[in-house]
């Protein structure tokens, strides 16, 4: 009975747009759902450093290198905000890292695609960060206080990521024929996977209903995806590139674009571990974590030494 009262009180708070804070009572399923979503978000930030990191040493100018380095550093910082946010729900960093490394936790499937050319750095900033921003702006209104606050912080830092990416694409598409072709190729490869970032259709999404009821998510996968499609179409046109979706058509009645169907077989294949880079991404994380062990050990032993000196 007490449990039922608490459930009701909890849902009343949610319905009244009152944020849930770490020490409040919450249903176990809400806590689990949040841990899953926030840790997945954190893993995405951290794994997302790899595809772009691939180009830091080969950036075409010092300016571009400094920008890319700063962007990749930001992603690491965003990972930190999000891991800490998940920790307010009672899970440890170690448990989350283990889940990432043993494959039981996911990260955004987009990062399993390889970065084959320099233009991919532009396409990622513009499209991948662009899609992430659409999602994260919506999540600023999520019901869990710490998650909402970290989204506000992240969105503030994120807009430079998208703008530098678009600026890079604009430079290429106003450049030589070869540069323009490189931009087009990159757009072709990253457009569809960016749409997949919003997840399955609402009718297929396993977590959507409870996430919406608890206001963990504020807008559905399909609504957010539509926003992204609508905002991206004129940006592609301005670049003077071909739109990768041949079925894209303005629908006057709806006031939005109609678009072609996503290749869902590819989506599920990549999510379930069979993208180009899944194994490499996780293995790289495992290696980096192992290779960094001496730093953590050195920190711990320094701490010990300081303590014994003080005693």
């Amino acid at each position: 009975m007490v449990e039922i009262d608490q459930q009701q009180k909890f849902q009343n708070k949610i319905d009244a747009e009152i944020k849930i804070e770490p020490k409040d009572w919450m249903p176990e399923a809400y806590r689990k759902n949040l841990i899953r979503q926030i840790s997945q978000h954190a893993h995405s930030e951290v794994i997302g450093m790899q595809p772009e990191g691939n180009w830091i040493t080969r950036a075409p100018s010092l300016r571009r290198k400094a920008i890319l380095l700063a962007k990749v550093q930001d992603e690491g910082g965003h990972g930190l905000y999000l891991y800490s946010t998940a920790e307010t729900l009672g899970i440890t960093r170690e448990e989350m890292i283990n889940a990432l490394q043993d494959g039981s936790a996911r990260y955004a499937s987009i990062f399993n695609y390889p970065t084959q050319t320099w233009a991919d750095v532009g396409a990622i900033g513009w499209l991948v960060d662009g899609a992430a921003i659409v999602n994260q702006i919506s999540l600023q209104r999520t019901s869990y206080g710490p998650y909402s606050r970290s989204m506000v912080r992240i969105c503030k830092e994120e807009s430079f990521h998208q703008r530098q990416g678009y600026e890079l694409m604009l430079t290429l598409s106003r450049g030589s024929e070869a540069q323009k072709a490189m931009a087009q190729d990159s757009l072709n490869r990253f457009y569809w996977p960016s749409l997949m970032m919003f997840g399955p259709h609402d009718t297929e999404s396993a977590h959507s209903a409870s996430s919406m009821k608890w206001k963990v998510k504020r807008e559905t996968n399909d609504d957010l995806r539509q926003k992204f499609i609508d905002q991206t179409a004129p940006q592609i046109e301005f670049l003077g590139l071909q739109h990768p979706d041949k079925d894209l058509k303005w629908n006057d009645e709806k006031g939005q674009f109609d678009s072609g169907e996503i290749n869902w077989d590819e989506f599920w294949r990549v999510i379930n571990g069979d993208g180009h880079c899944n194994r490499q991404r996780v293995q790289h994380h495992i290696n980096a974590h192992k290779e960094g062990a001496w730093v953590r050990e050195a920190m711990a032993s320094y701490q010990q030494k300081k303590k014994s000196k003080a005693a």
Partner: protein, 95 residues
């Protein structure tokens, strides 16, 4: 610590659900519990807060403002980390 010289606590208030706790001041108390009650009495008399954090002042480790140049440097020389650094044509500037 004596009856005349209690521990100092720093008080943080959340003015509204969903916002961060903000530092509002400090006070003397015997322990955390007492600090919490005093903070309620002193700092929330006009509905200033819905949640209070009390932290022993000794437990706060603060940066020194005098060191700020070496502590925060270098950040202002990297303007490319700001969105406004990227000039885009008007047609696509709303990004």
């Amino acid at each position: 610590m004596s009856a005349e010289n209690l521990q100092l606590f720093e008080i943080f208030l959340r003015s509204r659900r969903g916002l961060d706790h903000k530092h509002v001041g400090s006070l003397h108390a015997e322990d955390h519990e007492q600090a919490l009650e005093y903070a309620r009495d002193v700092y929330t008399r006009r509905s200033e807060g819905v949640s209070i954090w009390v932290v022993k002042s000794d437990d706060i480790c603060a940066s020194q403002e005098d060191d700020s140049e070496s502590f925060y440097d270098p950040s202002n020389d990297k303007p490319y980390r700001l969105a406004t650094y990227y000039q885009l044509p008007d047609e696509v500037n709303n990004m």
